[in-house]
Each structure stands twice: as structure tokens, then as C-alpha cells.
């Protein structure tokens, strides 16, 4: 997935002179996850560059560049470090179009790795998407595979509104089935690991049916898409897995079509539970599919604690938790 993201940035730097890429360690070094490797050498030091360690500044100057007409793609090294930039995102970037009645707009795409499963402890594991989906004027994208990551990132960069592009770091190098004790399978063995070199887009706001089924619907995104699919395959569960891809704007039609078909719904995310994006999904399904539901909606999420280093695999909503939730869902 790293190569796909690198390719999307490369394609866009080549196509559009207004695109600039910046962030901590993204220049010469190519990023701590190598997502920008080789881009500075190819596109030059004023198109791809390192920044001071100041997330507020990184986003703040990106807003200014966006106001000028560039399409900045700032990187926040870990989603856990996005909070110093909160004011520039929440009070500024997302409101400038509105407060200037369209005189100004901020076409920036903030990239940031999120999620756990790499023993990153409390400060390299969080999934803060729910903090941002609550903010209007901001689009939030979380890809689950290399093919989507490239197409969605290109669409995000071309979008004229601020986009937060969260990259689940646990699946940078291969899909993850939720079993921490098994070897990692590389993307090369996965159909969505095949990524065309050229430009293509995947529209924001469109979910994908990642696996078809009839028993119940699983709503997931990012890493959890793979955990959900593996759970179905391993247990012979005939569930339908919807990969949301974009959280805001949400593809409500794909969700409701699936839940109306299956009559049951499980929501899976790694982020903490209370006020998480799952709550929004649950409310949406309840509002739209109430008469089709045959059981209460199940939410499988990270616990409402910080991400513990040593107990990471007790925290992570893995196969055991999906199995128990599926039982409850089907027994009801």
C-alpha cells in the first residue's frame, strides 16, 4: 500500500504543478514509512520537502498555500500527532469556504497513518477518525487496500475541499487477518495489491462491497475490512462485508441496500467505542432500516481505554470478538 500511495503522489506531482508534498521527514529521507521515497529527488526540493516538527504549522501553512491555489498534501507523521493541528483543521481549513461565501477554498489533503497492531503503544496506535468525522466541511477517507488507496488519494488531492486521508499502518505491507501470531502475507498475493502505474480515480463517497453474503452485514473500513473478511472465511460465515472507504461523505445507499437484504448489521472499528464513528453508523442504519432489522445492531470496537502496549492484542477487536458478536447477532 505504501507503493500505491507513493505512486499516487508521484502521478499527481507530475500532472499538476500546484501539488506540493510536505511533512516531517518526508523530503530527502522519504518518510518514516517510506511513502514519499524518491519523490524529492524526482520532483525537486520545493515540491517535496521536510518541515519543522510543528503540526499546527504544517497544516496552517498548507491552508495558506491552499488559499494561494496550491494543492498541498501535508503529512502528519502519525495520526496520534495531529492534535496540535486541530485548530487549523477544525476552526480554519474546513470553514474558510463557508465564512468567505466561496471566495476562498482550501484544497488540501492531510495524509496520516492511523491504527494499531504494530506495538506502537499509546502514541503510535490511535484511530482518531471519530474526532474528525464530527467536523463538518471535512471529508474523511480511510482506504483498505493498495488499489483503492491510490485511486482515492488522487481523488482527494483533486478535491477542492479539505480531505483527511488516514492510512491504516497495520496494512501498509499486507492485509491483516486479525491473527497477530501468524506471518504477514504481502499485498502481492492479494487481488487489490495490483496497482496500475497511471492516473486513475476512485470517487470519494462510494463504498465497496468487499465480500458478498446474506447472513448479516458487516460495516468496516481500513484494517478491519480484512479482519472481517478473514473471520467470514475461517468460520464459514456468509456475511456481507461493506468497505466504507469514505466516512464523510458516507455512502448510505450501499449500506442500506445491504442491511435491507440481510436484516442484521455488525459495525466494526478499531477506534474507541463511545462517540465513535460506529455510533453514527448505528444511528444511520436504525433510522433507515429499522423495519428490516431482525436483531439489535452489534458494535465491535476498541475498548474505551488508551491503546496499551503490552496488551495490544487484548485491545484489538480481533477474531474472538467478532465471533462472539456474530453469535449474539444470529441468536437474537
Amino acid at each position: 500500500m505504501i507503493q500505491a500511495i507513493n505512486s499516487a503522489l508521484d502521478v499527481m506531482l507530475g500532472r499538476d504543478p500546484m501539488v506540493v508534498v510536505m511533512g516531517e521527514d518526508v523530503g530527502y529521507f522519504g518518510g518514516v514509512f517510506r511513502a514519499t521515497q524518491g519523490l524529492q529527488a524526482k520532483h525537486g526540493r520545493t515540491r517535496v520537502f521536510d518541515t519543522p516538527i510543528n503540526e499546527c504549522g504544517i497544516v496552517g501553512v498548507a491552508v495558506g498555500m491552499g488559499a494561494y491555489g496550491l494543492r498541498p498534501v501535508p503529512e502528519i507523521q502519525f495520526a496520534d500527532y495531529i492534535y496540535p493541528a486541530l485548530d487549523q483543521i477544525v476552526s480554519e481549513a474546513v470553514r474558510i469556504r463557508y465564512r468567505s461565501a466561496g471566495e476562498y477554498w482550501i484544497p488540501i489533503t492531510i495524509r496520516s497513518p492511523l491504527g494499531g497492531g504494530i506495538f506502537g503503544g499509546q502514541t503510535h496506535s490511535q484511530s482518531p477518525e471519530g474526532v474528525f468525522t464530527h467536523v463538518t466541511g471535512l471529508k474523511t477517507v480511510i482506504p483498505s487496500n493498495p488499489y483503492d488507496a491510490k485511486g482515492l488519494l488522487i481523488a482527494a488531492i483533486e478535491d477542492n475541499d479539505p480531505v483527511l486521508f488516514f492510512e491504516p499502518k497495520r496494512i501498509y505491507n499486507g492485509p491483516f487477518d486479525g491473527h497477530y501470531d501468524r506471518p504477514v502475507t504481502p499485498w502481492s498475493a492479494h487481488p487489490a495489491g495490483e496497482v496500475p502505474d497511471d492516473y486513475y480515480r476512485i470517487p470519494l463517497g462510494k463504498a465497496a462491497v468487499a465480500r458478498e453474503g446474506n447472513a448479516f452485514t458487516i460495516l468496516a473500513y481500513g484494517t478491519m475490512v480484512h479482519v472481517a473478511i478473514a473471520f467470514c472465511e475461517e468460520n464459514g460465515v456468509d456475511a456481507e462485508v461493506i468497505d466504507l472507504r469514505t466516512l464523510v461523505p458516507l455512502d448510505v445507499d450501499t449500506i442500506t441496500a445491504s442491511v435491507e437484504k440481510t436484516g442484521r448489521c455488525m459495525i466494526v472499528h478499531e477506534a474507541t467505542r463511545t462517540g465513535g464513528f460506529g455510533a453514527e453508523l448505528s444511528a444511520t442504519v436504525q433510522e433507515r432500516c429499522f423495519y428490516a432489522l431482525e436483531a439489535p445492531i452489534e458494535r465491535v470496537t476498541g475498548w474505551d481505554t488508551p491503546y496499551p502496549h503490552g496488551l495490544e492484542w487484548g485491545y484489538f477487536p480481533g477474531p474472538i470478538r467478532l465471533r462472539e458478536a456474530a453469535k449474539r447477532l444470529m441468536e437474537a
Binding site: G27, F49, G121, G310
Partner: protein
Amino acid sequence: MTSQDGDARRNLPPLALHVPEPKFRPGDAVDFADFEMPVAGAVDRPPTDSASRDMAGHVYAMVRVLDDEGRAIGPWNPGLDPDRLRRMLREMLTVRAFDERLHRAQRQGKTSFYVSSTGEEATAIGAAHALDPDDMCFPSYRQQGLLIARGWPLADMMCQVFSNSGDRMKGRQMPVMYSARAASFFTISGNLATQYPQAVGWAMASAIRGDTRIAAAWCGEGSTAEGDFHSALIFASVYRVPVVLTITNNQWAISSFSGFAGGESTTFAARALGYGIAGLRVDGNDILAVYAATAWASERARAGHGPTLIEQFTYRAEGHSTSDDPSRYRPSEERNLWPLGDPIKRLAQHLTTLGEWDDERHAALEAEVVAEVREAAREAEAQGVLGDGFRHHPMETMFEDVFEEMPKHLQEQRDQMLAEYKASGL
């Protein structure tokens, strides 16, 4: 249209963006010939009640006590007795052996991550000796030397690194994110520079309560770019806070050289001037200079003359962490050619010059600390390593300490977790 305001080109030369670039990249020959070596003993020692602007020169100069021959000279020479110097040497050697051991343990899969402080040992050990043992430390992740100088058990630190059953942090924190309240050592955060305003706040509290303890904080030069650094300085200045703020300028912030924190245009100590804070720039590989500057700052703080910002000029000899490969962005020989040398060698040379040390004793001391570290590692590893399972602490402990008292929704989640694990036969 190329910008939101149109393409308003006038008959003026085009602007150009400056992007800093370090002197040497991999493949370049490293040559520090144009490094202007500050003269040891040359910088005056101002009275500790000096106004910031009256000692403005100190933010551009560099306090050095040890000269090339290992003699301690000039007004900053703290005149420490040989026993104290030998203790400092022993502690620096312990930090180095500790780092080597745990770096290796990470490579062996015994833990997930480790951060060494190799080459920077003097900045923590020297400071710890100059502060009182109950002065409150707000460190970054690279000041393990503070704990070691305060006599904290090595095995306890290692248990934290292994997230094992002996880990007082219950396996919750990433390796090296120690906490030791009994050593007046604050819990370390992974979020850079957050400890800076916290240290200022702690010291404000100490002043509000008429206490006698001061606070001290450390961060890297890269972290000085964060807003929290500047928030700390303005509060420290306004309330004349009894705090010692140290920047360990080890030249590199992961792959970014100090130029990306503003180091091309000025020194880090000079950040003090705009805030009216006393600033000192110090040879961080000269433990006597580190000690003397920190002692000056703590004397100033205790006497009510306010904060000091100290830049410790040093070099990060190893990678940023075990996740880093520095040969990708800087020449490997840079560390060997670093003009300010190695802090351990320099103190050993000084002791030798005094007639208080020799190679034989040095080798014996090295062997002694390596054995001590090995023994501590054995003790710690007997309590488990990260690699051999994730159940050193009962799973349900995860829910403790989120709040003082566990609210109902967390109790329910805990019970659900236990029931689900039980149902699946675990």
C-alpha cells in the same frame, strides 16, 4: 488561472523558496574543518541575577570547561572532586552499557522498540548532579541518564522496556516511556514537547505554594519547533518561573537536521532572548560544562531570578531509535568525526590528567558496569519479555486507571471482554 487570485505577475524578479539542506549527505566526504571550535574557558560566568539582555552574548558563544588536553579551565570550572567525577563517569558508562544491552534485546525480539542516548550521556548525567535529588524532572524519551544518576534500579527500567510482569506501568507504555514518581521523574509522553509547559506549570505551582523545589525539562532541538515549546517559554518568562529548560541539540531529529528547526539562522539558546529569558549555550559533550550551566540555572531559579534556557550542543551518535536507519540520510562517519568528541572519553581524559584515572581502572570499571547491566537484564528477563506472550498483566488491568473510579460503561466492557475470552476457551 494558477492561483485563487489570478496570476498577478509584475515586472519583478521571481521569488524562490529556501529549503534547508545539511552539509553532508550519504556519499559526501565529511569534513568539519570549518567548524569554529569554541575556546574552552573563554566565556565569562555572569552573576546568576543577570538580566537576559545583559548576557545576550552567551546564547551565541559556547560554555566549555574541558580543553583539548582534558584540563578543566576558566570561570565555569565547577571544581568537582575526583570522587564525584568518577561517579559521573561510572553513570555515563552505565547508561551506555544499558543502551547497548537493550538495543540488542530489541534486535533479539525481546521488545518492540528502543531509544539509545549514545553520545549524549553527559547532558542527562551532568544535569542530574547539578539539580537537587527532589527537583522535578520532565524529560523526553532520551534522558534515561537522569534515572540512572538518581540511582533508580536498572532492572525496574528494563521491566518497563519489556512490558513484563515487573513493569510498574502494567505494560501500558511503549518502551523507554518511564515514570518514576519516587525519583521526581515525570511520566514520559510520546507527544513531543508537551512536557515543556508542564514543567513550567509544576514550577509555578511550587512557587505558588512557597515550596523550595524547582523543575527542569528537556526536549530535542527538533521539538523546539512545536508550539508547546513556545507556550512554555512565554509562561516561564511572564511569571519568572523557577524552571531550568534544556534543549539537547543533538543535530538530528530523525532524518531532519537542525536547520529544519531554525538552526541555520540562529542558535537554539537564542530562542531565550525574545522572551527575556536567560540563555546559555553549552558544549553538551563536556560534562563539567553541562554541570556548571545547570548549576548556574538552578541557583538562578532558586534565588527567584527566573528561568534559564540551556542549549546543550551534542551529537546523536546512533539512529533515532531501533526503527531508524541513519545511513539513509547522513554519512556514517559523521559520528566519528564529530568535533566535540565523546563525553565519556573526555571525562576519562580529564580524570587521567588529574592523575586520578588510568586505562586499567577504566577497563575494570567498564567491565564492572557491563556485568551490573547484565545482572539487571537477567533479573528483568526472568519476569518476561514482550516477545513471549501478551499476558504479563491480566487483560482486565487494561481498564484500570482510565479514571480514578471505573465508570459503569468501562466495567461493562471489562466484563464483556472477560466473558468473550472465556466463551472462546481462553
